[in-house]
Amino acid sequence: MSQPQTFFSNLKCRECGRLYPKEAIHICEFDFGPLEAAYDYDLISRHISRDIIASRPQTMWRYRELLPIDGEPTVGQQVGFTPLVRADRLAAKLGVDELYIKNDTVNYPTLSFKDRVVSVALSRARELGFQIVACASTGNLANSVAANAAAAGLTSYVLIPADLERSKVVGSLVYGTQVIGIHGAYDQVNRLCSEIAGKYGWGFVNVNLRPYYAEGSKSMGFEIAEQLGWKLPKHTVIPMASGSLLTKIHKAYKEFIRVGILNEEPFSVHGAQASGCSPISSAKKRATDMVKPVPNPKTIVKSLAIGTPADGYYALRSMQETGGSAEDCTDEEVIEGIRHLAEYAGIFAETAGGVTVACARKLIESGKIPRNESIVLCITGHGLKTQEAIHGECGEPRLINPSLREFEALIANDNIPTTTTTASSCPS
């Protein structure tokens, strides 16, 4: 195999456009603007095509030219290419014609979209020579850093709010990572990590490795376009915490158009938040680009409970640019959203998935998403991770003794035909 080629040229400030070397840095020294990976798109457009991509293994790395590492990926080579599921029963429930679920509840290895970002961040961390990697997390990122670092033989520290769901805490501890619970909200964990990163020189995936980390989210957008048959959905509904995923799916769609993989066609990206922490949705509804931080997020949706969303401003711009809208929903609507997705599409999502479904429903009912246009819902994490949130909300098993009589008494009211039918016998 020939020497891998890099198409990723620099880091670039999103605010002033100053260029920086491809190191473990994340903000512009002049205006604190976030640094973002810059690529040579003309070179990329000469190197990839639909056929070339389609011939590669079914992982997120089939889009390697548009991901910010120099060599071949060394961490998380199996991540991504999760199913895009056409969900006709859920579509009927929501009263729309064409609905798809991008199902990252089954992303490998830790059942959330965060494996995408961690795969890029840790592959890059190795290229930059880091031995210790770390993150600030609301849970999913911690799980993914812990698992992927373990597989790669890197030492990891994950810092989380002390009150996270138990299953998310165990889902980090099991990999032998150093889990540090902080008495405080996610934003305080974030701030501490920013200070630690400056002092210890570790590879913090969402601090000094953020420009690499964030780009991993684009793979979700690339996959949606490819799996729809090389076209864009008219509407994509995306949960927002920091707002990064929404901006990166938008970027992915634009990049595929830029390098000639897709024809230019109109699309909208829509953002979803929980009402108990909705700084970005609130700003969108007020039609301002000033995101007012939420000091004390109060929601069962802990994975989206970021009161000071770093990419809020850019998420607003992405929605603005594409004619998208934002919504938010109550905790009760979140649970209803989780149940609808499970009962009508057979997919058990974590609370953030409930937010996406519930907000999509509101956007449809308010006419912001027309019922006859294609819709993709981004479902980003598995329901087993946040079981506490719906415990007792979806009933309890009915208990009987191992007795046919008790069973018959139990189903008497279930409207199940009682006559015994036998399967047809084999043709003689």
């Binding site: 994340h26 609301t138 990122l141 002092k199 770093a310």
Partner: protein, 91 residues
């Protein structure tokens, strides 16, 4: 006891690599102005052309975000600790 200001790593080139620097002033705005006379160029990194704290900068006084207080008019006193922290991504 002076007011102490925590400088984030991207700005330490301007503070001779000092992580914590002493400062004086009655408000955040005063403190920033005084810091700028000691470390020229610091304020233009933190504030935009209109003098507002840049979108991607968070300033905390004793762990409280000044956007929840009175922004640059937030009063400070001796012994307070001010942190300048860049915004970072989610997780």
């Amino acid at each position: 006891m002076p007011i102490l200001v925590r400088i984030p790593s991207p700005l330490r080139k301007l503070t001779n690599d000092q992580e914590i620097v002493p400062a004086e002033g009655a408000t955040i705005g005063d403190v920033l102005a005084n810091l700028d006379s000691t470390f020229p160029g610091l304020v233009e990194r933190i504030c935009d052309e209109q003098g507002n704290v840049r979108r991607f900068v968070n300033i905390f006084v004793n762990d409280e975000d000044i956007r929840f207080l009175e922004e640059k008019a937030t009063t400070v006193k001796e012994g307070d600790e001010i942190s300048i922290v860049p915004a970072i991504a989610g997780g």
